[in-house]
């Protein structure tokens, strides 16, 4: 079988070479760079992926694999712009509640079957099916597809989902609320198609390398959990002739320092840089050490619920604490990976978002410190009556360093006594989720490139609002934003309220800090969501 597949591949490669002489010459068709003979991309992952089932996967590592194995209606390019995937395009009605996608006629599954609209209908119904109980069913709810919430709750059959195959090439989606960015949401794995016949034949085992059938540029050929997973070129993929990377290997390496050593030994093409090591690596390997903004924030949240401490109910106390944190020291001396300092909750890298001109951001640190002292004194705290509270974070070396730095800054500048407490991850989540804390660490990565993915966290009904901050004004602005055609202003106003009320202390925004071998071409550093596709990469001859 393997032999047959290989010879089919050889034929295909041969035809491809005839069809595109540029590739045959071993140079990149657009950039003209010489291509390496071995087109294998090897990268490090921190942990074993949770699944490669598109409707089930819930972790970033798994989503990266799934994005190579399967293809949704739309893809993202290197800049994060929307480009055609299985669909060649879409139309929508005026109030953005009905989307109609046209599917390309040459999209195929790796077993040769055509990819049809029904494959999407099946997959999306699967995603909301209580029987599959996908941990990402909530994503289907936020797409606003008609009846998604009802089906998840078990109040309607899955066939009621607002998605229909008009014919094999036409997919119609009905939304319960207008959603201008619905098409961008189709780049997420939950909305990828699924091969019905394979899933029905193999059940939960369908994602094993020997069973899996997928429609992306790669197929899963090997999986040794906690060690490696390998995906190789899918000769049935409609755009296979423009794919350059033949093989992608993900190696699970838990320890980031070992990963760095193995990168240095040439075993890896990409790995994360351990905190604090970026400046040295940048100096020694300027071509390889890279840092670019990511869509994630790092903050501390006050407990503003009724169970929360009385002192934090005073906005002056919250502001004083936020001002006295010297973010420059944290990003330059503790993290040292090119992370931007944060004065807004939403990272500035988010598309169509303009951070407000906040008072804090425009001050120097000395001015902030003076202001912080003033505010705290006004609130009635001083040397005789020092402010005391506890702050918690989940166990990690870098969280600890940041917490220690913050508590020292507060102690030295304001005489505040903050007691540090670290907790194992699940205990931490439970404690924070039950509002059993005073000040707690938080971090959030955007699900899509839009400010609401961050700002929704601070709305009253949000299940992720662990600080229980509540502002009627923010709630109403965010409700407006859901249907508004121009949202940028609304989000800026929400951030201005956050800056005023200070329910959270934004510390920094994440950066992707990598060692990336200089022979890897086209890594999408400008895609802030870091949705990368191996099919767009290539290895340059050294």
């Amino acid at each position: 079988m393997k032999h047959i597949r290989n010879s089919a591949l050889a034929t295909l490669v041969a035809t491809t070479m005839l069809a595109s002489p540029v590739l045959a010459a071993g140079t990149h068709p657009t950039t003209g760079e010489p291509l390496a003979d071995d087109q294998t991309f090897t990268y490090r992952v921190l942990d074993e992926h949770s699944s490669v089932d598109p409707q089930v996967v819930e972790d970033v590592t798994g989503a990266e694999v799934v994005r190579d194995l399967f293809e949704g209606l739309m893809n993202q390019d290197e800049e994060g712009n929307l480009v055609p995937g299985v669909a060649t395009g879409f139309t929508t009605n005026d109030d953005k509640t009905v989307y109609t996608f046209t599917l390309r006629d040459n999209a195929k599954w790796s077993n040769g079957d055509p990819v049809v609209a029904g494959d999407f209908v099946y997959a999306w119904q699967r995603a909301v099916d209580p029987e599959l109980s996908s941990p990402y069913a909530w994503y289907m709810e936020i797409t606003s597809i008609e009846n998604a919430a009802k089906i998840i709750a078990g109040d309607a059959p899955i066939t009621d989902l607002g998605v229909k195959a008009i014919d094999d090439r036409t997919l119609e989606i009905r939304l319960s609320a207008p959603l201008p960015y619905f098409a961008t949401m189709t780049t997420h794995s939950t909305l990828f198609p699924a091969p019905r016949s394979v899933i029905e034949a193999h059940g939960a085992d369908w994602t094993k390398p020997e069973n899996i059938v997928s429609n992306g540029a790669y197929v899963l050929t090997e999986h040794l959990p906690n060690e490696r997973s390998v995906r190789e070129r899918n000769p049935m993929y409609w755009d296979n002739e423009n794919t350059i990377i033949d093989k992608v290997v993900a190696l699970v390496i838990n320890d980031e320092n070992v990963a760095l050593t193995r990168y240095m030994a040439g075993e890896l093409d990409r790995t994360e840089v351990p905190a604090g090591q970026f400046p040295r690596l940048k100096e020694e390997h300027p071509e390889e050490a890279i840092s670019f903004p990511r869509l994630c924030n790092y903050y501390y949240t006050f407990n503003l619920s009724n169970d929360g401490p009385e002192q934090f109910k005073d906005v002056r106390v919250r502001k004083a604490l936020a001002m006295a944190v010297d973010r420059k020291i944290i990003v330059e001396n503790v993290l040292a990976g090119g992370q931007p300092e944060a004065y807004s909750f939403t990272p500035a890298a988010v598309a169509n978002f303009e951070p407000p001109a906040s008072e804090m951001a425009s001050m120097t640190q000395a001015e902030r410190d003076a202001k912080a002292k003033e505010l705290l004194a006004e609130a009635g705290y001083g040397p005789d009556n020092p402010l005391k509270f506890s702050m918690i974070y989940n166990t990690s070396e870098s969280h600890k360093k940041i917490a220690v730095a913050m508590s020292q800054m507060w102690k030295q500048k304001l005489g505040v006594e903050a007691e540090l407490g670290n907790m194992e991850w699940k205990v931490f989540l439970e404690t924070r989720g039950n509002q059993d804390f005073e000040l707690a660490r938080g971090a959030w990565c955007g699900d899509y490139n839009e400010a609401s993915t961050f700002l929704d966290l601070l709305t009253t009904p949000s299940g992720y609002n662990d600080g229980k901050f509540s502002s009627a004004e923010i709630d109403s602005l965010m409700t407006q934003a859901r249907t508004a055609s121009e949202t940028s202003d609304l989000y800026t106003r929400v951030e201005a309220i956050i800056a005023q009320e200070q329910p959270v202390i934004p510390i920094y925004h994440y950066a992707g800090v990598y060692m990336l071998d200089s022979d890897v071409g086209n890594w999408p550093v400008n895609n802030v969501e870091q949705n990368w596709y191996s099919k767009n990469l290539y290895k340059i001859a050294e």
Binding site: S133, P135, I152, L224, N254, R262, E424, V427, L429, G463
Partner: protein
Amino acid sequence: MLGYSIRRLLAAIPTLLLLIAASFVLIQVAPGGPFTSERPLPPQVLANIEARYGLDQPMWKQFWDYLYNIVFHFDFGPSFKFKDRDVNDIIAQGFPISLTYGFLSFLAATSVGVTLGVAAAIRHNTWIDYFAVSLGIAAQALPNFIMGPILILVFTLYLGWLPGGGWNGGAWPYLIMPVIALSTSYMGSIARITRSSMLEVLNSNYIRTARAKGIPERQIIWKHAMKPTLLPVVSYLGPVFVYVLTGSVFVDIYFSTGGLGQAYVGSALSRDYSVLLGVTILYGGLTVLVNLITDLAYAWFDPKIRY
């Protein structure tokens, strides 16, 4: 001795049941559950998931179903974290790996350790003794979580002789560093125990008698001194054997071997109840079995012990 073995194995059943029950309760008492996450799931989604894994049932029912599936179907349930895999899968994949490098480490630690210890004892207070003792102490003192990264640094980065990690079906270049890292400290302990035990035996009356009778030294050591020397070593080896198989999480972490140690610790952190329980039962059963083998080995080494 057969009767004794059967009795011991039967006695293991209540021990294991108790272990399962205690683990079952303790895991559930720990704060946070398998589906606690940074993004709390909407209540309905969470309810669907809990129903799927039977977590909405009363605890006694969950426990009963769990035991029933193990006893009658040999099914340890699905993993809560790795949605495409079940516990049987995870153990079947990881255990042979742990067993391979664990067993090799055990062999290496025992053979090198005993040889060093015996050599040191026979050449008491010579340079061989000093060398063996220093080597033993150094090996014992170097923690394996330091040893792992150092080995990778030297053999992978500086010398470029060995791959920095991975399994590759257990090919020998992938085995060398894990085996060195895992066996070194046990080797040190075994060498020291063997040495002091051998010294004690060599000073005993019956050895003096043997020497007085003019039996050649070689024969005295191999025929008369060796077996009693190994008694304390064997009682140390039992737990070591279980430990090299179970306590190998650092090998999995530093050398990415894909063994069971990593899955075990990972399951505790992610509250993957079923994986944690499954591996606990496996390790528990293994401990019972190895203890039995150790006891039987005593009988061979020391005829004074009767069952």
